[in-house]
Symmetry: C2
Subunit: 216 residues, 2 copies
DNA sequence: AGCGTTTGACTGACTGTTCAATCTAACGAG
DNA sequence: CTCGTTAGATTGAACAGTCAGTCAAACGCT
């Protein structure tokens, strides 16, 4: 079997190109319908080389899922740091869940989540990666809330972890519906539901539903 | 191509057997990894006949998903009718979402939902079926709430549709985590989150978290 | 030369679908 | 009642396409 291999620096770029290509293809066609040859073509190499790098199709795809989600959190984390206003921060979290496309992130990471979930159901490797990724996502939310408490925006008696858990769950549910383009759960409604939930749970003063005017 | 075919009554039994087998296999192995030959073997027929009945693998699997979800709602609807107490009814809804296995339902319909979602992302047929199924599920929840208003358990000013939408979204998110066996979102926690949400939104008197003692 | 990297042709296994042949049961004419 | 006819149901094998993974040869650094 082809042993996973290279460590030089030029190779790292090629590796990333393959992961990027794989992530894109998974989100376009789904995990099961992503072929090695397609990944190779989009990354501008040969399928033999893809196997040379990753050893097996499953490992390639699993790594691609991880790569994509990681770049998502990195981008999210960076953008949050640029904004100190608590309400605005909260709105950002909601926005990302209910309207796709985060700058710097892999294109169309929406389908990726749903695919990640159904794949995790059967692949232990993916299951563990998902748990880890989700925990990191919750940490991020928790951190924001805790900083909200420090700045006095959030009631001090809120259990931050518990809130992070339930809030991310709500966001999961909403984003699923939005991703599946459900006719009843529009992007706007999803935003409202999430913000109302947070306002109630955190004891926030009720504010405008959206900071920027609705796109129409 | 093989045109979908038979109309006699004895055939209906065989048809159901194939759908049942397919649904089981999808939930075990996933949509993409379910082979016609396997479905045929489990249903006790030949793969040729499966194609004879459904014309194509995709149609078979799509029909199987629909079949499974329909039997789920039928069972749910029946069980709800046997129970008139509002709080108990609510608890049943939550229980079904956070702990699998509904009597009379296809085994392990959990994986099916996640697979349904990721498949719906790419297959228009499945997407429409999902929308329809979800709408039916929300109708069920809405009906329960409206009856709760009539019996005086639920505040009269609650928007029933809006609640049905947001509540089912919460249940979706919770059931996803439970299905994926997330270490932080235990079945008990999921139950608490859902009930608290409902209590607040519906203006219910706070009650015991669970009616039956926790399984340990 | 020597090494890691890269290629792309190739293989071997798998699987959806087709198809000709067989079986079953209902039916109607004699 | 019986037997040939027929239409639908069922089978099993063959077909044709697809793809993950292998391999021997070529490449291009150092």
């Amino acid at each position: 079997m082809a042993e996973a291999a290279p460590q030089t620096e030029g190779n790292e770029a090629r590796r990333r190109a393959m992961l990027q290509a794989a992530a894109e293809l998974i989100s376009e066609r789904g995990y099961g319908d992503t072929r090695i040859a397609d990944v190779a073509k989009r990354a501008g190499t040969s399928s033999g080389l893809v196997i040379y790098y990753f050893g097996t199709r499953d490992r390639l795809l699993v790594d691609a899922l991880r790569f994509s989600e990681e770049s998502y959190y990195d981008a999210a984390s960076r953008l949050l740091d640029e904004q100190r206003d608590f309400r605005r921060r909260l709105s950002m979290l909601v926005e990302w869940s209910c309207v796709p496309e985060l700058p710097g992130e892999v294109h169309g990471s929406w389908g990726l989540w749903l695919d990640l979930w159904s794949t995790a159901l059967r692949h232990p490797e993916v299951r563990e990666a998902r748990v880890e990724l989700d925990s990191r996502w919750r940490d991020l939310v928790e951190r924001i809330v805790r900083e909200g408490q420090e700045s006095g925006d959030v009631r001090a008696d809120v259990g931050t972890r518990r809130f992070a858990l339930s809030f991310t769950v709500v966001l999961d549910g909403l984003s699923t519906q939005v991703a599946l383009d459900d006719p009843e759960i529009t992007s706007d409604l999803a935003h409202d539901i999430a913000m109302e939930y947070a306002e109630h749970e955190l004891g926030l003063a009720k504010g405008p539903r959206r900071l920027k005017p609705r796109k129409r």
